[in-house]
Every structure is written in C-alpha cells, then in structure tokens.
C-alpha cells in the first residue's frame, strides 16, 4: 500500500445510496411504463446486491415481484489474458428467462465500459431481450467504448489517478462510496 496516498474519502454515504436507488427504481417504472416486463440482472459481486435492492424498491412501488438475477461476465472479459485466471461468479437467470423482456443490467461503477460490453455479449448467449438498459450507482467517466448508462445514481467526475470503491452492507458490512488515490501497483493499467 502506498503510504503517501491520502485516505479515501466518502462521496456517498448509506442514506445517499438508499435515496439514489429509490430514485433509480422510480425512473425505471416511469421509463418502462410500469416495469411490467423488467428483469434486473446484477453484475457480480456488488451489482447483484444493488439489483436486489432496486428490485425490492420496485416491488414496493409496483406491488409486484420483479424478477432479479445475476450475470457473471468473467468468461467474456477482454482482458482475461492479462491476469491469472479469475474465479467465476454465479450467473442466475430468473425462471422465465430474458427473451422478449426489458433487461436492466445493474453494476456499481461505470468506468471504461468494458464490463458492460462483456455483459452484453454474455446476455447474447442467454437469450434475446426486447431491450437492454443499464443502471449504475456511480458513473465516473473515462469511457473507452460507446456505452452509456440509462440510470445513474451519481455522476462523479474523477481523474485516472483516482479510484472509486463501492462498499455495500451485504459484502463489506457498510454502505459507502469512497474516492481515493490509486495505489501505484506495478502493471496496473486498469
């Protein structure tokens, strides 16, 4: 750890996160005209928890159970050969599948766009949705592909020397989004 780096500072705290997720849920209902055919697919690890939280909010708003699952993109990454083999996460598609439905992909941070590119490929092997949308908690910019989010919790202008770290209660024991300085790890070009 680079001891020179200042401590990461929180840019979103627990209540902020809850609020933006509620807003995203409302936006989905509004744009999807009642969210009748919405399927939420979270991208592991934290995207899955966010998808589940959004699904819960949607259920409150619409009074219906919204199908939610997970979509692991590891095997579709374009940088597999740059790192040792990664552990796989679970892909769990809700029972009725995705064919003809509106799939909303959910991830925590949108950065280069490569994860979402991989997710679109993965989704392509699973079925043919009516449309695909993207919801992210934080958009930190620096896109490397023509990809944009449909629902953004917070736009967070960053420099490439900064890192954005999302922590969620399910995984990390607390809800927060941290902005910090990048560790100078050798070969870390992400």
């Amino acid at each position: 750890m680079d001891t020179q780096a200042p401590d990461p500072r929180p840019v979103l705290e627990g209540p902020d996160i809850a609020r933006v997720l509620t807003r995203i849920a409302h936006e989905i209902v509004e744009r999807a005209k009642g969210a009748d055919d919405v399927v939420l697919l979270g991208i592991p690890t934290r995207g899955v928890f966010l998808a589940q939280r959004i699904a819960a909010k949607l259920a409150e708003i619409t009074d219906r159970k919204i199908p939610v699952g997970s979509l692991d993109i590891t095997m579709y990454r374009d940088d597999l050969r740059l790192q040792p083999p990664r552990a796989l996460a679970r892909t769990e598609i809700p029972g009725d599948g995705v064919d003809g439905r509106l799939v909303v992909l959910v991830d925590d941070v949108l950065f280069s766009g490569r994860t979402i590119r991989a997710a679109l490929d993965a989704l392509n092997d699973i079925g043919r949705p009516r449309a695909v949308q993207l919801a992210v908690l934080v958009d930190r910019g620096h896109r490397e592909l023509p990809i944009r989010a449909d629902y953004v919790g917070k736009n967070l202008p960053t420099s490439l020397r900064e890192t954005v770290k999302v922590q969620l209660a399910e995984e990390d024991g607390r809800d927060t989004v941290l902005l910090g300085a990048k560790r100078t790890a050798p070969g870390a070009q992400q």
């Binding site: 579709y76 083999p85 990664r86 796989l88 996460a89 679970r90 892909t91 699973i126 890192t163 954005v164």
Partner: protein, 331 residues
C-alpha cells in the same frame, strides 16, 4: 495452480476446491440455449491420443469446444507414430503449428510428465491418462460427483470431502483412476479404503494414504460412496484371479450387496462397465449409480481445468500469485 496438470498429487486442497467450484459454474452452461463461452477463443488445443479412449477424448473435445478453443484431434493409434519413440517428434510437430495446450493420453506411465518437463515443448500439458499412473481429471470429476451427491450442489461450494468414507473396489494394480483418486480424495480430507484381491494390489501400497481391505462385505456398510473399477477379463489369464465367477462372487457389486450400503451412499463407476463382472446390471441401472452423471460432470471438470490453465495470462511458475484474484470492480 501450476502450468500443467499431470498428477492429482500435485493439486493442493485449495487448487482442487477451486477447480470443483469453477466446474460447478461451468456446469450451468450446459443448461443454457447457447452452450458456449468465448473464453478460449483463438487458443488451440490438441488432443493427442496414443491410446484408444473415445469417451475421454469426446469429453475433452466437448469441454474445449464449449470454451471456443480451436481443437485438433490427433489419434496416434494405428499410425506410424503409435510407437512411443516418436512422442517427442510428434509433440514438437504439433507445437510448431502453434498449439497452446496438449491433452495427452498415453499408454506409458510418465509420458505426460516427460512432455511437460523435458523441454521438448512450451505448451501446457494436461494428462488425460498415462499408463497405470494417473488420470487427474477423472479423479476431479469423481470428487465433483461425490461432493454434489454427498454435500450438495450449492452447499458444496468451497467445501471439501472431510470425513467422507470412500471405498474403491477392483483392479487397483493396473488402475490410474485408483491412484489419482487416492491422492485427490486424501487431499480433500476423505477416508479412502481400497478393496481388492491381494493380487490386484501393488507391492508398496502400504505407503499410500488409505486403508486396504480384502473384504468387500465388511467395508460396504461404512461407505458413503463405493467406486467399482473395471476388471478386464484378460487379467484372469495372468492368474490375478481364478475365474470371472469367483471374482464377481467375492468382489462384484450386486443388488444384495448394495442393499447393505447406507441409505445415502452412492455407487460410482468410471466406465466402461463390465456388467456381470464387477457390477450387475441391476446395480448399474439403479438410481444410486452415478456413472452417467460422472460423464456429464466430466465435461464441466475439463472446462474448469482448461479455463484455469489457459484462461488467464501465462506466468512463470515463480510469478504465479498465490491466490486467485476475485473479480474486481471496474475501476
């Protein structure tokens, strides 16, 4: 994990569990409309089979194709290279064509080890069975099958086979499946008992991490899984046992014997089964027999192994990080 998979004995507990967990995810691909992943696109794998083995070859081929690798099948059987001397030339020829991995089945024990360690080629080597030495992917798929059946599909993730009692019955002497299973099951914490007539147990077996018994009936009631090995009829001619009838009476698994196994326990067989010799049709076709399941699981295990060997960057042995990185956030 190392660059090659030569012996089940080379796998640590963490390696083995990583492979089993990865295979569990791979198995889900079989349930999807498009049973294919792009992961090994552009990688070339050669299945170099110096021995006949349709089922193992097909299983590897299915795994390779599901991962989008380019597959070359090379069967040396019957060609001029079926003699061992040309293993080196054959391998070098294939490598010159840009092969990234060699899946090798060979009649000579140690041939894959030589291929991986002699400096003949740079490609990763996966042992698909060598002589009477090792068959590591078979042991992995067997452990995978046991974990699913005895621990549970989801409950098993991250788990080993601690304290499970596994009995392996039959021609241990000539069995690479038995050797691999003893190594792997021991690593995974299982208690292994080998049952065979003394003629079919190797001299020197006392150093293996398992129990030995000549008495199948005494062992069955305390077995969570019973693995029956194929016993070739030719063994009879070399005086390993007197007659087929006597063998099956003493060491074969029939319905009556199966009834003495605990309720939850399973019957396994690596195939091909010799019905009437080591196993009766009644047992082979029963719900407790996992032979067909093992075949399906074999594809998942081989996908996992190939992914873990080839799916990432190639590192010098000394630079391979100790732990796998979990998927990090896009940052």
């Amino acid at each position: 994990m190392q660059r090659h998979l030569i012996s089940a004995a080379d796998l640590t507990r963490d390696d083995a569990i990583r492979i089993l967990d990865t295979a569990e995810e791979m198995s889900r691909v079989a349930d999807r409309p498009i049973k294919k992943l792009p992961t090994l696109r552009g990688r070339t794998i050669v299945n170099l089979f110096f021995e006949d083995s349709t089922r193992t070859r097909i299983s590897f081929e299915a795994a390779e194709k599901r991962l989008s690798a380019d597959v070359i099948n090379f069967s040396a059987k019957g060609s001029s290279v079926s003699k061992g001397e040309s293993l080196k030339d054959t391998a070098q020829t294939l490598e010159a064509m840009g092969v990234d991995a060699v899946v090798i089945r060979h009649g000579a024990s140690g041939a894959p080890y030589r291929l991986a360690n002699s400096g003949w080629i740079d490609a990763a080597v996966v042992n698909a069975g060598d002589g009477t030495h090792q068959h590591p992917t078979q042991a992995l798929l067997d452990a995978f099958t046991m974990r699913r059946r005895l621990v549970g599909r989801d409950a098993g993730l991250g788990q080993d086979l601690d304290g499970r009692r596994i009995t392996i019955v039959g021609d241990i002497l000539h069995s690479r499946v038995a050797r691999s299973n003893v190594d792997l099951l021991h690593t995974l914490g299982a208690e292994v008992t080998l049952v065979a007539p003394p003629t079919l147990l190797p001299v020197g077996i006392e150093s293996w991490p398992c129990e030995i018994s000549y008495d199948l009936d005494a062992t069955l009631p305390k077995s969570d899984a019973v693995m029956m090995l194929r016993v070739q009829r030719e063994r009879m001619n070399a005086a390993f046992f007197p007659t087929e009838r006597e063998y099956s009476r003493r060491y074969g698994l029939d319905g009556e014997r199966m009834a003495r196994m605990p309720e939850h326990s399973i019957v396994m067989h690596p195939g091909p089964m010799v019905r009437g010799m080591e196993i009766t049709a009644e047992v082979a076709d029963s719900d407790r027999c996992t032979a067909i399941e093992q075949v399906a699981n074999g594809v998942s295990i081989r996908m996992a192994v190939l992914y873990l060997l080839l799916g990432g960057a190639v590192f010098e042995t000394k630079n391979v990080p100790d732990t796998l990185q979990t998927r990090t956030e896009e940052k």
